[in-house]
């Protein structure tokens, strides 16, 4: 009896792992998805190991090098130098640190606020649901970029404030998504069974509801990292993000744009970096969505 009981108890976890391994197998067969993942990993590793990868880590962090300014791409500086003579490749590698982390942090913070609120709203229903949903309506009424600009301006220009401002306008989407999922889960037998044997509500939410809404949230999050990077670049393009001389892709376009017609390489490289990473995350999100849905997953070996 012991073993039977054990295996029944283990089954949900077991099935979930099997599901993820099926997803991974389908994912590996999608060339576009794999390329996107590789592109993203290259940028992340480049940002992490920036000090080792470039011979000019000081310039990457912001030290001017006026004597070599406006060098076009060449052998010494593969992507050229900018208006202060800094190596553009070094700036791109170091700039990835802030641009990429905005993407990930925004999604993490927005998820950390939105997911629990959505699960609580959906699980309990009633007035609690009403209150939480009206608050999300309030935030969703604003154009996101504009609200983020207003909050970032109010908090003062910095990397953290820009990140908080964007996350603040994004969490309602996660609350809505998780609430909708939880509403349908609430009526399922396994939740009712847990409730009937006296499992506490918070335990049910943590152990049975949240793991089951993970997949749609993961899909949404993957796509959102790309948009968050784009929004973060826009905010620092306006001058509300990380402050110079610290490197950031949006800031590089912002400062490079007045030289762009004559010397397009440094703003151009930053724009290309933003474009490539965002495109990779969008394609990856598409692929994750396809493999997460058993109906669109290509399971033929």
């Amino acid at each position: 009896m012991q073993t039977v009981g054990g295996s029944v108890g283990d089954r949900p976890q077991h099935a979930r792992f099997r599901e993820y391994s099926l997803m991974w197998q389908a994912f590996r067969r999608d060339p576009l998805a794999v390329i996107s993942l590789v592109v993203i990993l290259v940028f992340i590793l480049g940002a992490l190991f920036a000090p080792v990868l470039t011979p000019y880590p000081g310039q990457g962090r912001g030290d001017p090098n006026i004597l070599e300014k406006f060098q076009p791409p060449g052998r010494v500086h593969p992507l050229g130098t900018d208006y202060l003579g800094r190596d553009v490749l070094a700036r791109i590698l170091f700039g990835g640190r802030s641009s990429l982390s905005v993407g990930f942090l925004v999604v993490l913070v927005a998820g950390a606020i939105g997911i629990p609120l959505g699960a609580i709203a959906g699980y309990y229903g009633g007035w609690l649901d009403d209150v939480i949903m009206r608050i999300t309506d309030m935030f969703l009424a604003f154009p996101p970029l504009l609200l983020a600009i207003a909050i970032a301006a109010a908090l003062g220009a910095s990397f953290t404030n820009a990140m908080i401002a964007i996350a603040f306008t994004w969490w309602p989407w996660y609350a809505r998504l998780v609430r909708a999922q939880t509403l349908s889960l609430r009526e399922q037998y396994f939740i009712e069974a847990a409730r009937s044997i006296g499992v506490r509500d918070l335990t049910i939410i943590a152990r049975h509801v949240l793991p089951n809404v993970l997949t749609p949230v993961l899909v949404q999050a993957t796509m959102d990292v790309g948009s968050a990077i784009l929004t973060g670049a826009g905010i620092s393009f306006i001058g509300l993000g990380i402050q110079p001389p610290a490197p950031d892709w949006g800031e590089m376009i912002s400062t490079g744009r007045i030289y762009f017609i004559e010397r397009p390489w440094f703003a151009g490289a930053a724009g290309a970096a933003i474009f490539l990473v965002t495109l990779a995350f969008n394609l990856l999100g598409d692929a994750v969505r396809d493999v997460a849905d058993p109906r669109t997953r290509r399971t033929v070996v």
């Binding site: 009206r134 309506d137 309030m138 009424a141 604003f142 154009p143 996101p144 970029l145 504009l146 609200l147 600009i149 207003a150 909050i151 301006a153 109010a154 908090l155 003062g156 790309g226 784009l230 670049a233 826009g234 393009f237 306006i238 001058g239 509300l240 949006g250 376009i253 744009r257 762009f260 017609i261 004559e262 397009p264 703003a267 151009g268 930053a270 724009g271 933003i274 474009f275 965002t278 495109l279 969008n282 394609l283």
Partner: protein, 340 residues
């Protein structure tokens, strides 16, 4: 639920949303870490000057009183005063809003003119080269930082080909020798109405690049939406009947099928319009377009909160009304909506 009950509830909700929007903008405007009174006075203020400004701006009153006054002013159409220029913000908005609107409308026109035909054709020829190209272009369009796209277009059409201007609404010569009459604030309309064709041509050349840059997102969405609804509609029996009856393919696609495929596309266009209002902020910066975006980004640089908050409020009100309009239009067109 009865249709009128749905419409009534939707209207009440819009009013509630607008109220809460005013609370949030008020809070952002007043409960900021930096002192609005100090910003009002300028650099190196004395304590007395700050105290005076504080009283003048009503910042010494309790918060709820400040909010009530703020609402009173709003309802009278008074958005406050710019900290930087000490001008009423409404006056500034009257000058900047038409420029932004003209740009956004031009972007939408591009979405209709480019997006719908491409969507129809790629839906009709699913899997063709055109279909793959438009799919690729629309994904790329959504991943492209608009401000970077604007720069690339400037580099190509101004820097290399020398056929389109770099930025602003008209060139300096035209502004001096063929000044645009200020009637609607839409330069293309104003010049056409006064028969000022030299300025019309100039304004048209100036709006192409910024409108296309702003419209990319809408073009991409329109293509995708039109394509998917076309594929659905083209599978219907009445299309088969029309083809069997020997109607030309042109008529089948662009008249019979498009008529039914267009409703979701209209919704997408409405949403893109709203999205473009904020997208314009970044595009205007690139093309030196004297609109709301230029106004708000300058306000950001000089920490002019009343301006930032007023622009946020005005654009959000547009946003809420357009969403309301879309929902109501859909409720009128599609009886299934009110059943939810």
């Amino acid at each position: 639920m009865h249709r009128w009950e749905y419409i009534f509830r939707r209207l009440v909700m819009a009013v509630l949303v607008l109220l809460s929007v005013s609370v949030i903008t008020f809070l952002i405007a007043r409960v900021v870490p930096s002192d609005p009174a100090a910003a009002w006075v300028g650099p190196h203020p004395t304590q007395e000057q700050i105290a005076q400004a504080r009283q003048r701006l009503g910042l010494d009153r309790p918060l709820y009183e400040q909010y009530l006054r703020y609402m009173q002013d709003l309802l009278r159409g008074d958005l406050g005063t710019s900290v930087r220029s000490h001008q009423p913000i409404v006056t500034d908005l009257k000058a900047f809003l038409p420029a932004t609107m003209e740009l956004v409308v031009a972007g939408m026109v591009m979405a209709v003119v480019i997006g719908i035909p491409l969507g129809v054709l790629s839906g009709a020829h699913k899997g063709s080269l055109l279909d793959h190209l438009t799919r690729l272009a629309s994904i790329a369009g959504v991943s492209m930082p608009t401000f970077w796209l604007g720069l690339l277009l400037q580099l190509f059409f101004f820097g290399r080909l020398h056929i389109l201007p770099l930025g602003s609404r008209v060139s300096t010569e035209v502004a001096l020798y063929h000044p645009v009459a200020q009637i609607t604030g839409f330069y293309l309309l104003d010049t056409a109405m006064t028969g000022n064709w030299v300025a019309f041509k100039d304004a048209l050349l100036h709006i192409i690049l910024p409108a296309f840059t702003l419209g990319t997102y809408a073009i991409g969405l329109t293509i995708r939406m039109t394509r998917s609804t076309m594929i659905e509609v083209l599978g219907e029996k009445y299309i088969l009947a029309a083809r069997v009856a020997g109607l030309p393919e042109r008529v089948v696609l662009f008249v019979l099928a498009l008529k039914n495929a267009i409703i979701p596309t209209v919704t997408v266009l409405g949403l893109s319009f709203v999205y473009s209002l904020t997208g314009a902020l970044l595009v205007e910066m690139i093309f030196s377009w004297p609109g709301l975006g230029a106004y708000v980004t300058n306000a950001v640089i000089s920490i002019d909160f009343p301006v930032i908050v007023s622009v946020t409020l005005v654009v959000t009100v547009f946003y809420v009304f357009i969403n309301l309009f879309l929902d109501l239009a859909q409720a009128m067109l599609d009886p299934r909506v009110t059943l939810q």
